[in-house]
Subunit: 223 residues, 2 copies
């Protein structure tokens, strides 16, 4: 059986992606990161639940405290407030963690090489997003080349990003067909008991459900 | 003044490289990693000394425990003995940490972007080495492209690897011209009080000093 490292944050996209990987016949090796982000407890609980529901062969949790040492993002520096979504924002939102996806993909590649996995599934999407440079297809292509050249010659790992050109509504539609339990996912960047409903991540999640005309099973309203 | 993130392990190559960066007029932001390797105490002490001697503006130490979680290398798994150097080895030595350099470079890039640095100096060398895939020039070129595409559009970070096609003897010659204090560097992969003298890293260090016909200021003989 083919084995895939699935980056599983506990959000909508990565959860739908893990269900997609299983649907494609891969055995799931769930890789979850905490990096001092505001919502790490919620995300971990969601990711664990999803991994269990998917019969993942392993749930690897990696704590990356260094993003706090590096700083420069409201996601990891509690002194900076999380930007609310803006239609016409100039530049990147302050939730951008410098070069984050490259860090996560490098770790995923190390794990995939050590475990003999065939693929890495990562739920990045270029469109309908906040302009993060490390979500673009060109970035993913460059990283694939880095993997090909930087791993052992007998290692062959394919970076799978089937959602990179899909909208969040497309992803949601796919997930509903696959029976993804969205009540067990968490998307909000803020740290309230309920999702805030106003950060970029909530904005795009709500929009996806609205676009499909179906209710979101989680509750909003901040803390 | 231009600023450079310098990966400083405390070994010969990275120390010589940091001296090279300073000689080129860069302000030094020293980045040191510990990842559960056998010799982390020695390496940290050497790196701190060198950073101090170079008037580094910052010494950032990042602990990466996850390489132990991932496993697969004698450098981070104490149950596996460190391979001795072999002239005709088949495949990679067991000191290979899967995709390690990509992990280190991803972190260096995050730090460089967060601090507004202009360059990253990393002391990889392709030749005279143990066949690690993530030390090859093609890997470095692919990673540069990943940086260009994965960082903010107004960020410009150049990956500097002046030693990539040099032999260790060339590097040592360069370092002696720059006055590098090699008595404060540590190269051995094993964990004795003195360098073992038989691992790949000791082998190449000793060979470099022998090639130049000068004495190595550190002492050998294992524990």
């Amino acid at each position: 059986m083919m084995k895939a490292v699935c980056l599983l944050s506990g959000g909508m996209d990565s959860t739908t992606l893990a269900y997609t990987a299983r649907d494609m016949g891969y055995e799931i090796l769930a890789l979850h990161f905490t990096y001092g982000q505001r919502t790490e407890e919620k995300e971990r609980a969601c990711a664990r639940t999803i991994a269990r529901l998917l019969d993942a062969v392993e749930f690897v949790e990696i704590r990356l405290d260094y993003f706090r040492t590096i700083g420069g993002s409201s996601l990891t520096d509690r002194r900076i407030g999380v930007d609310a979504y803006e239609e016409e924002r100039e530049g990147l939102p302050n939730t951008y963690v410098p070069f984050r996806n490259a860090n996560l993909l490098a770790i995923a590649t190390s794990l995939a090489e050590a475990r003999g996995a065939d693929a890495i599934f990562v739920g990045v999407q270029a469109g309908d997003y906040s302009g993060y440079p490390d979500c673009r297809p060109e970035f993913i292509e460059a990283f694939q080349k880095t993997i090909d050249l930087g791993t052992s010659p007998d290692t062959h790992i394919v970076l799978m990003t089937p959602f990179v050109r899909m909208t969040k509504a497309d992803i949601l539609k796919r997930g509903l067909e696959l029976g993804v339990p969205y009540e067990h996912t968490w998307s909000c960047y803020a740290s309230g008991e309920r999702a805030c409903g106003i950060c970029d991540s909530c904005h795009f999640r709500k929009k996806a459900f609205r676009d499909l005309g179906i209710p979101d099973p989680i509750r909003y309203g901040g803390s």
